[in-house]
């Protein structure tokens, strides 16, 4: 029986010298794809799904607007609110916010500003259309409904 049990003298260790390289590769992947979180989102965000998504060309032209029920309902109530840069604003303040966002861009790019709206699926169209109306008044007419890609249902 012991005929088959050939004990070899070679070491059974897996070489781990390449491990740091693998980890570094992963690290670089995440460093490149990363966008550091700038704002804490204080509204509930269960974004609806859709199939016909399109990519935005230039990220520097995009300003984000979050709409949804506040997470802290005790403090802010449970009516959907609009959040921009860490603060809640009223629809009428959108014009001011848009002009501030436009100031960040160069002269030539100002009318190309895109407003990406990330709204919760339970938000009513009344609020959404109020936002649209204010954006029209602020002359920021490129808009995007930020949604998720639909996975097969």
């Amino acid at each position: 029986m012991s005929k088959f049990k050939k004990k070899s003298n070679t070491s059974q260790e897996i070489p781990t010298s390449a491990l740091p390289d693998i980890i570094f590769m992963l690290l670089f992947f995440f460093m490149v794809t990363t966008v550091l979180r700038e704002t804490t989102i204080n509204v509930r965000q269960k974004v609806p799904q859709a199939t016909e998504l399109r990519k935005l060309q230039r990220k520097s032209l995009v300003s984000y607007l979050y709409v949804g029920e506040p997470k802290n309902t005790v403090l802010y109530g449970d009516e959907p609110k609009i959040q921009v840069n860490d603060v809640f604003i009223e629809p009428k303040d959108i014009i001011l916010w848009v002009s501030k966002e436009k100031d960040k861009l160069t002269e030539a790019e100002r009318d190309q500003i895109t407003i990406a709206m990330k709204a919760d699926e339970d938000v009513k169209m009344g609020l959404v259309s109020d936002i649209e109306m204010q954006l029209r008044k602020a002359n920021a007419r490129k808009m995007m409904f930020s949604v998720r890609q639909k996975t097969d249902d």
């Binding site: 029209r136 808009m143 409904f145 930020s146």
Partner: protein, 185 residues
């Protein structure tokens, strides 16, 4: 001569390198939000105060009316509809009618999709309907350009490439995407 020559290569102990890399990796994993800048695009009409009210007469047959009420029920061309996904085929049929069916549009240039929601309609439902309306047009363009829908959306997002631009203009010629979103009441 105090310089003693040592034999053997001087090595830096690199076994903790993996640990350091792991630490950095975990940091980036936690702080990461993978860039997500995709969505449904929309061009808003100009400021209502700056446009004069002009009555534009349109033939009833050219307008494809979609109404959504506050309980998310659809009324399409004055008939209730339960399945949102049916809209896509209906819109395509309407746009590409070329005057055949007297109830549908005269030609794609004149065809208009009119979408009207209620203030109480949920955003979710609106997105579903708007998605179908845009999807119908993308399907038409993609078919004309001879590519798939997904490929069409990709190439129409990057018009700086002259090949894309040429294809884009060719496919869209005579078929403007006229989706009108009325203010909800």
């Amino acid at each position: 001569m105090a310089r003693s020559k040592r034999r053997g290569a001087a090595e830096i102990n690199s076994s903790s390198m993996a640990d350091i890399a792991f630490l950095l990796l975990i940091f980036f994993l936690v702080t990461t939000t993978i860039a997500n800048d995709k969505g449904l695009t929309l061009q808003l009409p100009p400021d209502p105060d700056q446009i004069q009210d002009v009555d534009i007469k349109m033939k009833e047959r050219n307008i494809f009316k979609i109404l959504i009420n506050s309980s998310d029920k659809l009324l399409v061309e004055n008939e209730p509809l339960n399945d949102v996904h049916k809209l896509r085929e209906m819109i395509k049929k309407h746009v590409l009618n070329y005057g055949r069916d007297p109830e549908l549009s005269e030609n794609p240039e004149k065809a208009v999709i009119s979408l009207k929601a209620n203030r109480g309609t949920s955003y979710d439902m609106f997105i579903a309907v708007y998605n179908e309306a845009q999807g119908a047009y993308y399907d038409i363009y993609a078919q004309k350009a001879g590519v798939t829908n997904a490929k069409w959306r990709e190439l129409s997002s990057d018009l700086s490439n002259p090949d894309n631009k040429a294809l884009y203009d060719k496919a869209r010629e005579g078929i403007p995407m006229s989706i009108s979103i009325a203010e909800p009441n």
